[in-house]
Symmetry: C2
Subunit: 205 residues, 2 copies
């Protein structure tokens, strides 16, 4: 692209470094900012730099937090004996939105993925094993995405903790509520039949 | 969305004010920045604020520029007698990329659009009429998009300048180079037949 302004070119280059944003989209976003009052750009820049410089990672669950311990870990209302193991903070938000889980979380920060060079040492697995070792955890719920990497990570953690007295479970896989059976993939449909639940139990959810 | 961090929530809200970026995409972008070194966020924020605070609008053509007059208006190589009228800076960049135009530009800053509340007084039309009045312009090329708003804007400007001694032209509409005729819309195909050009002329382009 042939920019008439070095400042514009520089801004477009920086914005287009964000994932999924190409040069054209970056230019559209930057030109939008130029049409808005100057304060808008100031607010945006301050929000991003303040977040990047001041945000903390919860010492206990590795969730993003403004304080040393996150709100969930600090809450006296949560059941500290059940820990839900998730990949990243978006999963915490998704599960919190359901309002169906009252335990604590443990954010791994990713999944084991040899292709991307992510091994167990790059994830928060040691601190999870220590929590289990301490005996204060009764149940671990694996809520990683159902991919090879997710399954590998689940299995790796399972092997580390199976010698301790802790129940492990994984979230149910099945047909989405409201989905037509004919459009479901075979593996999901198959699992939903193998792992069928008593009808009386389905009435409670 | 239920954020565990006010800083994160604030950053996501600011990013999602950009056009075409929803909360989920904003969260994805912000989490990406958190995984990158702190400097990346700093570069991005600085590039945006510097642009917003320091960028200038060329006094002559209203293009975005780092200086009082933009590079194109300053260039001694450009033909100052031909002015291409465009909607915004992206059109300037698109035409410059073709390397087929050696005149100057005039950026209107939009199109007349009563629905969006944009009238002639909101656009840089007066300064264009003054340029024509001064007698230094021989030809105006209308290069606005071919919509009702674009046609209205073209016609409004045409009415303002028709009493002066200036040639007006509009960019050719027709089938895109490389496109199949069968997929072209009727209006474009119709116009391309009405405005056909001598075959010998097509060999030169």
């Amino acid at each position: 692209m042939d920019f008439s302004s070095k400042l514009l070119e520089n801004a477009v280059n920086e914005v287009s470094r964000l994932p999924g944003i190409g040069k054209r989209t970056a230019l559209r976003l930057v030109l939008h900012l130029l049409r808005q009052p100057k304060e808008h750009t100031g607010y945006l820049a301050t929000a991003l730099t303040t977040l990047r410089n001041d945000v903390k990672i919860c010492e206990k669950c590795h969730n993003i937090s403004d304080t040393v311990l996150c709100d969930i870990c600090q809450s006296p209302k949560r059941n500290t004996e059940i820990i839900c193991v998730v990949e990243d903070i978006r999963d915490v938000m998704a599960i919190e939105n359901t309002a169906q889980f009252k335990g604590l979380y443990h954010v791994l920060g990713g999944k084991i993925s040899p292709i991307e060079g992510i091994g167990p040492q790059n994830l928060h697995i040691d601190s999870l094993v220590k929590k289990v070792q301490s005996g204060e955890v009764k149940e671990l719920i694996f809520a990683l995405s159902s991919t090879i990497e997710g399954d590998t990570t689940n299995f790796y953690i399972y092997k580390q903790i199976e010698k301790y007295n802790v129940t492990t479970s994984t979230i149910a896989r099945g047909i989405s509520v409201g989905d037509e059976l004919e459009y479901a993939d075979e593996i999901t449909l198959g699992r939903s039949i193998v792992n069928r639940i008593p009808f009386s139990q389905s009435l409670k959810a």
